[in-house]
């Protein structure tokens, strides 16, 4: 597939801020109609790449196209074809939702009639109907995000960029945004480039996932491929007592491919979980000063993929599993 046939094509994009390399030679391709999840911790370079692709930043090196147009040399064409909802809902509290949507329509050269018809479609699509005539200052966080999404869709973009669309939202609002993203993709065929630090979000929404860490793309594939790439099953062991002794014994077992984590919880990659669980339990029972609190078996998640390729830890932020970054110095300026 050539760059002009792809919704997004990124070839060796580098972006530097002084001495800091925020994006370091990222290459990826997103097909038309695909949902691509761009997953990484805070400061990994997700937002920087998104800002390059939606023409807010120039790349320091490399080339990228969106809807077949070069983001550097043809930004005007890209802007007509890309819709963007950045990390914070960017709205004007003094205006009403209707006024903002109408204003957005005028900026894209739509007639009043076309804008009105489009606003009607969007209010059905993103569930903001009743609030439209109220000033935005009175909206909840979830309503602001939905209006922000509607603004990004006024000109019916071919490619939609969503930069951490659910960060800071409560679970109900998050589920609504997910539902809307799915509808946009499945019913309207909009290509979606979604950055997120929530593994569950990438798993739920994305056809393919790219994992970025410290500015580099470290893994890419469908969620299933990525999970399969790190082994078949995962055994989680929670112990009391001497974790180093437990780890030492587990490392000596042939059936354990890899051990991640430290402290009282260890994550074991095994090729055949049901067969491995008994030998693991027996081995741990024989270790002096170690008591097994919990032993569980599950299929690998994107959490495990992320751990295996970056060595980063996963935290529960109250918003679902999220990644804790270690490279805060690379925070997008």
């Amino acid at each position: 597939m050539t760059a002009s046939e792809l919704a997004i094509s990124v070839e060796g994009i580098v972006r530097r801020f002084g001495d800091v390399v925020a994006v370091d030679g990222v290459s990826l391709a997103v097909a038309q109609g695909e949902v691509y999840g761009f997953l990484g911790p805070n400061g990994a370079g997700k937002s920087t790449l998104t800002r390059i692709l939606c023409t807010l930043l120039k790349p320091s090196a490399g080339r990228a196209t969106v809807a077949g147009y070069d983001v550097d040399s043809e930004p005007g064409q890209v802007r007509l074809r890309a819709g963007v909802a950045l990390q914070e809902a960017a709205l004007d509290d003094l205006q009403t939702g209707s006024e903002m949507l109408a204003l957005q329509g005028r900026l894209y050269g739509l007639t009043t009639k076309a804008t009105r018809a489009r606003v009607k479609e969007l209010t059905e699509l993103v569930d903001i109907g009743e609030a439209l005539d109220r000033r935005i200052g009175t909206y909840s966080g979830g309503m602001k995000r939905r209006l922000d999404l509607a603004l990004a869709l006024v000109h019916d973009p071919e490619v939609l960029f969503l930069d951490e669309p659910t960060t800071g939202l409560d679970p109900v609002s998050r589920a609504k945004v997910w539902h809307e993203v799915r509808r946009l993709n499945t019913e309207l065929g909009v290509t979606v480039f979604l950055t997120t630090q929530y593994l569950e979000e990438a798993d739920e929404l994305a056809d393919r996932v790219g994992i970025i860490n410290q500015g580099e793309l470290v893994a890419e594939g469908t969620p299933t491929e990525l999970k399969r790439s790190i082994g078949t099953d995962v055994v989680i062991v929670t112990i009391a007592g001497e974790p180093l002794k437990a780890r030492h014994v587990l490392e000596s077992l042939d059936l354990v491919d890899r051990i991640e984590g430290s402290g009282s919880t260890l994550t074991l990659s095994v090729s055949d979980g049901p067969s491995a669980i008994s030998p693991i339990a027996v081995a741990l029972a024989a270790v002096p000063d170690v008591t097994v609190i919990e032993l569980s078996l599950r299929r690998p998640s994107l959490d495990d993929v992320f751990l295996s390729v970056t060595g980063e830890h996963i935290i529960d932020s109250g918003q679902g599993a999220a990644i804790s970054g270690s490279q805060q110095s690379q925070e997008t300026p």
């Binding site: 120039k58 499945t186 798993d203 056809d207 969620p223």
Partner: protein, 269 residues
């Protein structure tokens, strides 16, 4: 998760560049809509000139008459107008847009970048001309007459409006360079040397020493002379042209700064 790529349906709308004039009007109408919704931003510009006009007349009229000013109320009305229109802008709103990310949202559209600033300036021009009205009404109430009649009133408001517009470049330059509300508020300090080191209270002939020297270089000196001539002397072009030239010079400086700052703000480097 969706199960694969979905064919793109036909586009429901055809977006295009709206054109400079449309962009300009879109930005200006949004700014004008915001003004009555944020009255606190305008009230000082409305109250301060009225206050100074009344206080100056009450306190200084006898003193000024001793220096040869025959109609001190007409002499003070242009000063009140300058107080009303100088430094009034949507620069603080622009800072809010920058900090909220809405400015970036605008940059994501095909809007002409210059319209982002010129649209706000058009709104400012409308606002400052509107702010002249209550001051003029108070002037009429206290007995000020226009020697040039109704055309003079219109010319007076236009000149005042253009001065207000010329000055807006300074707060916008600060807003776009710094993105800081505090810095924009501080830009009001620029107004003081302009407004007070001039013929605000006494005619030029009565100024002496360093103040007289500075007043010679202060554009407001010529602006006040132009406005006063419309009130008391008629269409005196030898007074009006220097006033208009002062507006052009200040406007050239402030617009250069503001549009330079805009270029820096919207650059993708």
């Amino acid at each position: 998760m969706s199960t694969g790529t979905t064919p793109r349906s036909a586009r429901r709308v055809e977006p295009r560049n709206a054109g400079f004039l449309s962009d300009l009007l879109t930005v200006a109408s949004r700014a004008l809509r915001a003004i009555p919704r944020e009255p606190a931003a305008v009230i000082p510009a409305l109250v301060i000139p009225l206050f100074f006009f009344v206080v100056n007349i009450g306190a200084l009229e006898p003193v000024a008459q001793a220096t040869g000013v025959q109609d001190f109320r007409a002499f003070q009305l242009p000063v009140a107008i300058i107080f009303a229109v100088t430094g009034v802008s949507r620069a603080s709103g622009l800072v809010t847009d920058i900090s909220s990310g809405y400015f970036d949202r605008l940059l994501l559209t095909p809007i002409r970048r210059s319209a982002l600033l010129l649209g706000l300036m058009v709104a400012d021009l409308v606002l400052v001309m509107a702010l002249c009205v209550p001051v003029l009404i108070l002037g009429v109430i206290v007995g000020v007459n226009f020697a040039t009649g109704l055309p003079g009133v219109i010319g007076f408001v236009i000149i005042a409006g253009l001065w207000g517009l010329a000055f807006t470049g300074f707060p916008y330059a600060i807003a776009l360079r710094t993105g800081s509300a505090a810095a924009v508020n501080s830009s009001f300090l620029l107004f003081f040397p302009f407004a007070f080191l001039t013929t605000s209270f006494l005619p030029k002939e009565a100024l002496t020493g360093w103040l007289a020297a500075i007043a010679d270089y202060n554009p407001i000196t010529y602006l006040l002379a132009a406005l006063r001539s419309l009130l008391t002397a008629g269409w005196v072009w030898t007074d009006l042209w220097p006033g208009l030239l002062a507006i052009v010079v200040v406007g050239a400086v402030s617009f250069t700064l503001a549009f330079g700052a805009l270029r820096g703000r919207v650059s993708r480097g």
